[in-house]
Amino acid sequence: MHPAFSVIFLSTLIGVGQGLFLALYTGQIYAMMHLLPTQESHSFYAVGSVLAFFFLAAGLFASIFHLGRPMRGWRAMSQWRTSWLSREVIILPVTLCLVGAYAACHYFSWTTPFFTLAETYPIDPSLVVGAVATISTFALFLCTGMVYAGLKFLQAWYTPLTILNYVLLGGASGFTLAAAFSAYLGTEIVSFYALWAILLTSIAFMIRLSSLIRNSQLKSPSTLQTAIGVRHSIIAQKTQGAMCGSFNTREFFHHQSDERLKTVKTLFLFLVFPTPISLIILALSGIFSVNLLISAFIIQYFGLIFERWYFFTEASHPQNLYYQTVG
């Protein structure tokens, strides 16, 4: 498939936004359970979730460039019964609003507990909104993943690994950003986020490697024989009905050399996984920790752009069988 930058930015940016929100909310839960020191509502949770909100909004903005007719985009909410894309279009603004509401709860300090669970865990509005937003965030991960994992002809994507990959890479980049953010504010919970970021990045690495191995062994049930229905082992295309390309050659082919694909694969495997992990470990050891964590996030995000680009080129569409030779 042809890698579309609008979709690459959409999925990587909302991934960071979702991951960052989940990181903040995880921190709040831990603090509520008295496992971590409580952070200040205003400066930490409110600013952090506004940051997550901007990442989600930037993703939504990027998605507009994918549409031929963006002014009709609202219509995309109508087919939620059958279309994962429609479900994603609904759940993305919902998540955006809920993360915004979570930010508002903290900004306006609506943190007076409704009641105290088991006399130790105070339940306040921000916690309730955060819980709903968490469900919405995971629903968004599922929808984004299923947009790709639901297309059975694109075998490289038609696997639960695709959804896991979106969840884990979004989570990893979000927790890395949370570590950088908490270090920048000088809070004492940097190591909590840093360890989560290392854990998620490591699991994501294993999942991505398994999907790469799986995809390298794929064998399409479609061949030129089934495509045109001729039972002969030697078939060569002579014309494809267009001399200078068509939508079919532009949308479904990546037109990249094997060398470039290999370079991008090596690059993203290096930038998304070992580099940020090493930088985070270095940061935890104490020297230049803020700058190291910020660069860990930036490097990981750039790596994710390469990762998503490669994700598109990995998928081979069966229609390509009809467009092998120009003529």
Binding site: A76, F153, S222, Q237, C244, E251, Y323
Partner: protein
């Protein structure tokens, strides 16, 4: 339930592309707006088509066969492009099974084209919506046309009658009978899309000639003992007179 479809006879398709041009002509002039072209008279022309004819060579020289292969939307019985559409612009008509795109609802996200294994849909770069074969839905029901012309433009244009049009759910229709009798098949059956359009496979006609059949045993000249005329320069004047 009716399911209109095309039946393409690969035995007689000569690859002339008359179906391609007539399709483009009819559909670019219709109510749905033009099928846009870019650089049509320049270097690197490209444009939107509902139907394209491709050519494949089967076998190795000198034992090759050339197969001209027209490809347009197959109007699947279970179209994978329809449920994925987020706006409902892509739909399959209940009444006749034609798969259509509502160009006023399409947002041009191209997701339906990802979900079609045949590459039957093409994005119009000018109108910014997804387009595809309509089976000339604006023609086949047009009461102002004579009944014989209420067929898709490609079917009417085909000079060898390689394209047939009819209801594949009616067992007595011409297309159903041909599919049944001549082994009509579907493309990429492995994906379970159940395309309505079918293709008739090529078949070779074999017959054996025996040695004695090369010589006419009942040659009338031989029978009567009359020999053919000698070449002009070897004829005598007597030969010329008697031949009168």
């Amino acid at each position: 339930m009716k399911q209109l479809a095309l039946l393409i006879d690969l035995n007689v398709c000569v690859g002339c592309s008359a179906c391609v041009t007539s399709c483009k002509e009819w559909n670019t002039s219709g109510w749905a707006g033009p099928m846009s072209d870019f650089n049509p008279y320049d270097a690197n022309p490209t444009g939107t088509f509902f139907n394209r004819v491709q050519t494949f060579e089967v076998g190795t020289f000198p034992n090759t066969e050339t197969i001209h292969f027209p490809k347009s939307c197959l109007h699947c019985e279970d179209p994978p492009c329809v449920p994925v559409c987020p706006t409902g612009a892509s739909y399959k008509r209940e009444a006749d099974g034609i798969v259509l795109v509502d160009y006023d609802k399409c947002i041009g996200c191209k997701y339906c084209s990802w979900a079609c294994p045949y590459g039957a849909r093409e994005f119009d770069q000018y109108q910014k919506v997804m387009k595809k074969c309509t089976l000339c839905v604006d023609r086949i029901y047009d009461q102002t046309l004579p009944e014989t012309e209420r067929k898709p433009a490609c079917v009417l244009a085909c000079p060898t009658s390689a394209r047939l049009f009819g209801d594949v759910h009616d067992p007595d229709s011409d297309v159903s009978q041909l599919i049944r009798e001549r082994g009509g098949y579907q493309l990429m059956p492995e994906w379970g899309t159940h395309p309505s359009n079918h293709y008739l496979p090529r078949h070779k006609v074999h017959f054996t000639i025996h040695e004695d059949e090369l010589q006419r045993s009942d040659n009338p000249l031989k029978k009567e003992g009359v020999l053919p005329d000698l070449p002009k320069d070897q004829q005598t004047s007597e030969d010329i007179f008697t031949s009168w």
